[in-house]
């Protein structure tokens, strides 16, 4: 697509429920990232997918968070048993494969705003 597409744009859920956030990266971008932006905070790295390699999950804050990427394209970030501190904007970004010119420029989606009541 023309840009990184994320859905839903807004999600309000009750504490304890599971949520899924979706990211559709730019066509041809093999690298995909999830970041979290909490109110008044900078962006926090969560997870990174590069092609068929095992994902780098080093930024996931707890085992309630998981992500998958199907067919090297669409990714889903799942948060189980949501807590109020999970409230944030979840940003997805994609880029070209490492080593390809322009690979170091991440294109971000508009984000999914999650509110946990």
């Amino acid at each position: 697509g023309a840009g990184v597409s994320q859905s839903p744009s807004n999600k309000v859920t009750e504490k304890g429920k599971d949520v899924e956030l979706r990211c559709d990266p730019i066509s041809g971008h093999t690298a995909l990232y999830w970041y979290r932006q909490s109110l008044g905070q900078g962006l926090e790295f969560l997870i990174y997918f590069q092609g068929n390699s095992a994902p780098d999950k080093s930024g996931l804050p707890s085992d309630r968070f998981s992500a998958e990427r199907t067919g090297g394209s669409v990714s889903t970030l799942t948060i189980q048993r949501t807590q109020q501190e999970d409230s944030a904007v979840y940003l997805c970004a994609s880029s070209f494969e490492r080593g390809v010119p322009g690979a170091n420029v991440l294109t971000f989606g508009a984000g999914s705003r999650l509110t946990v009541l």
């Binding site: 840009g3 990184v4 690298a31 990232y33 970041y35 008044g40 905070q41 900078g42 962006l43 926090e44 790295f45 990174y48 780098d56 080093s58 930024g59 940003l91 970004a93 880029s95 490492r98 690979a103 170091n104 420029v105 991440l106 294109t107 971000f108 989606g109 508009a110 984000g111």
Partner: protein, 111 residues
């Protein structure tokens, strides 16, 4: 642990004047990025700085990188209203494209 610090965090600019945003980071890196974010919007890439002494300019914005000082600056010349936004710097210390972001500088340009 890498720390990326921006200052100021809030900047009220007067139209027509010049201002500088600073980005300090705590670990050696020669890959630094500047992004802009408008309220409710995604981040837009402004500059990619990949070497010591790198300088990039686009319109009223100019970014530079001093890797020895671990400092990048974003200079705004003759501020105009449409530059109002939040500006983030980000550092890639391991060349693995996992960016560490500063907290952002929220810029408001007033007449």
């Amino acid at each position: 642990e890498l720390k990326v610090e921006q200052n100021p965090l809030f900047l009220s600019m007067q139209e027509g004047k010049n201002y500088t945003i600073y980005c300090n980071y705590s670990t050696t890196s020669d890959r630094l990025y500047w992004y802009r974010q408008d309220p409710g919007k995604s981040l837009e890439s402004l500059f990619v700085l990949l070497s010591n002494g790198a300088v990039k300019q686009e319109g009223r914005l100019m970014a530079s990188l001093d890797t020895k000082a671990r400092l990048s600056t974003l200079h705004i010349t003759a501020a105009v209203h449409d530059l109002s936004a939040t500006y983030f710097c980000a550092v890639d210390i391991r060349n693995d494209y996992k960016l560490s972001f500063g907290a952002g500088t929220t810029v408001t340009v007033r007449a």
